[in-house]
Symmetry: C2
């Protein structure tokens, strides 16, 4: 190792996407190792619109492991952080940075402390799987820093120890988390089914739903479901395995009708087992129900699915449109039903890929007010103003990448402290 007195700082910055499950993960068979009761399948969301950026750094000058999330220092003492740090450290290998003249041996890593800074480019509290992107990014960046030569699947098994669904954020496109059989969890990891270019017509619109209700955390919720639901085991053992096979086929064949049917029914069944939990868990609210009803009526009238919906542990709708044309129609319908409050501006009401607004012919707040009523709506006089906080337009996206542009680093290259 280089002289400690030299006070060098070595760092790596990575960017990792979030993901949305289309066959849901709900229920652990092992709480500590985070081993699920069934396989799950997800779509990775474009990191341009939803991602975590994490800078990890190491220096002999650091006297303890520290972490900052969105600029605020947080504790690393939790078991989940410790699991990830321990697992990556144990896989660290020699690092030689010729440019900086730094040599770190496999053994040195045991004594060196790290600084970590992480930032989500979307609201953490919005229920958009920030912990999935976060733990995936932490593990990916640490593995790069410590030269842990594991492939993405092996890293996914480590990220899984931080947050189950994080394992699916190690790949872009379409990803399967295989539940595995090993009781130590070595085979519970993610594999890529297809990359993001495989099915690039899909457009994803997220409705971030206003909610006053305190939600049950997914950790607590799934524990309660495992302990009390009399339907969960039937779902996990009898229903999901067949759906996984069908969903893999649907993705392989870009069969939107099957994809949508499976995604919608599986989302609903996940919420059904939540309701079958004691006490019952309600993640969807009346706004979520209205969005489902709109999509179901549209799909039914069209004769074949135009849009798939899926809801995670919260009221937000993730809507997957079969193509860009359908997405523009979807945005029109959604903006009609859920216009912004009068003090809003369009720029902060529709985020992400705003070009969809042009396709939808909605380039001003006034245009929202004069949209035609969708035929799916019974009472067009009833518009649910303010019930959706904002929309994010996005698409399937790539997996983790290392960022080399220093301006994107979250830690000061000299001090290893937040910029």
């Amino acid at each position: 190792m280089a002289e400690e007195s030299q006070k060098w700082v070595l760092m790596v910055t990575a960017q990792t996407p979030t993901n949305i499950a289309v066959i849901k993960y709900w229920g652990k068979r092992d709480e500590t190792l985070i081993l699920p009761v069934n396989d799950s399948i997800s779509v990775t969301l474009d990191p341009e619109h939803l991602c975590t950026t994490t800078t990890v750094s190491v220096s002999p000058a650091f006297d303890q492991d520290r972490m900052w999330l969105n600029g605020k220092e947080i504790s690393l003492s939790g078991g989940r952080f410790q699991s990830c740090l321990r697992e990556i450290r144990s896989r660290a290998t020699d690092v030689h940075d010729k440019e900086k003249g730094i040599k770190i041996t496999k053994k040195d890593w045991e004594k060196l402390n790290v600084h970590i800074a992480s930032y989500n480019n979307f609201p953490t509290a919005a229920g958009l799987a920030s912990s999935a992107a976060g733990f995936a990014c932490l593990v990916f960046a640490l593995a790069k820093l410590m030269n842990a030569n594991e492939d993405h699947s092996q890293l996914s098994a480590i990220a899984r120890r931080g947050s189950g669904s994080a394992c699916r954020s190690l790949y872009g496109g379409f990803v399967k988390w295989i539940m595995g059989k090993d009781e130590k969890g070595t085979d519970s990891l993610a594999v890529q089914l297809a990359d993001e270019k495989h099915w690039d017509e899909l457009v994803i619109v997220i409705a971030v739903v206003s909610s006053q209700q305190k939600e049950t955390s997914s950790t607590t919720g799934m524990r309660d479901t495992v302990e009390t639901s009399l339907l969960l085991q039937h779902r996990a053992k009898e229903v999901v395995p067949k759906r996984i096979l069908k969903m893999e086929e649907a993705i392989k064949n870009r069969d939107f009708a099957s994809f949508a049917q499976l995604a919608c029914t599986d989302s609903n069944q996940f919420h059904a087992v939540c309701l079958d939990t004691c006490p019952p868990i309600f993640y969807m609210n009346d706004t979520s129900h209205r969005i489902i009803s709109l999509v179901e009526k549209w799909n039914c009238a069209a004769g074949t699915p135009q849009v798939a919906y899926t809801f995670d542990a919260g009221p937000n709708a993730v809507l997957i449109a079969r193509n860009r044309e359908t997405a523009a129609l979807l945005v029109q319908k959604l903006l009609f039903c859920f216009p912004p409050k009068s003090d809003a501006d369009l720029n902060s009401f529709v985020l992400g890929d705003k070009s969809i607004l042009k396709d939808a012919g909605v380039e001003s707040l006034e245009a929202i007010e004069s949209l035609p009523a969708p035929p799916e709506i019974k009472d067009p006089s009833q518009r649910h103003r303010g019930d959706v906080s904002y929309f994010i337009c996005t698409r399937p996206g790539r997996g983790p990448v290392v960022l080399s542009d220093e301006s994107q680093f979250l830690l000061n290259p000299e001090t290893g402290l937040p910029k």
Copy 2:
């Protein structure tokens, strides 16, 4: 038969209660015979507060079967009415009314037409099982008129052909609908588990929840669930049979903790299979969820259940309090959370057994405004004014009775037409 020219009219008036299932009926194995996929158990509600009154009459002067519901003539051509009429007619026996000098033989009934008038003492559209009370009353009154000497269980099997849950309204107290095995449905009928005096501390508060949403009818809903839910059969075959046995025990032993736990989890599981239906069925709304949350928190804090909740095919909450003291507390909490709109009057906001208001210390609208915030509520500044249309306070009640007071007859004794 007496001379047709005499134009005599013979009539019977009966009153039949409604009922609320505490182990739910959802799903038919035979659509025409209305045979369920599982047993169910209900509590009969006091007819003083919720009942149907039906007058059935016969006269040689009637040239067709006719029926009036709440004063408005309705068609009897539907299969369900026809099944009930046919089944009762086939069981008719000789009638001899000495006072009026009328003799009707078993054979005469085939040619005679009936007039029927039915009236609910509660809003039909409120989703309070009006069809259950209605068909039970129709069958019970016709059986009396036609001297069909069947016991209540046999009549229940006929009422079942009108509306499945109607069979449970042939008895007071606590009633089990045995699904039966016979493919013709002869053994699918109701039996009384205990009469209403067996457990008379129970107090029932119904919250009639305001809703703009058009609900899926239970007939359509349960058909869709049978056809599409992958959880229903598991519920019907594996879960409900065990719950039925436990619920029978709980009722027998007046074990409120078990009763409440079973009623709540079974209500939630019924709504879970609705959600697992394609397209999903939502009967509960945000107000329903808030009421469940209030009760769950209260029960949890008390260490043992104080109140059970159950929801049928709509957003209304049926709340069963362990005793009158608990019911008074329940009414306080509910009135705090769901006060009436400012233009309401207390008399039309709390219906049924209004004496509970005195126990709750709420004898004016002003008293509602100054109620203390329940500890279960996180944000006491948020009161959901107008979200409950009205409350009905009631209790377990008796089964069908014949009314002899002519002033309660719904048809004119001379003409057989609505009064």
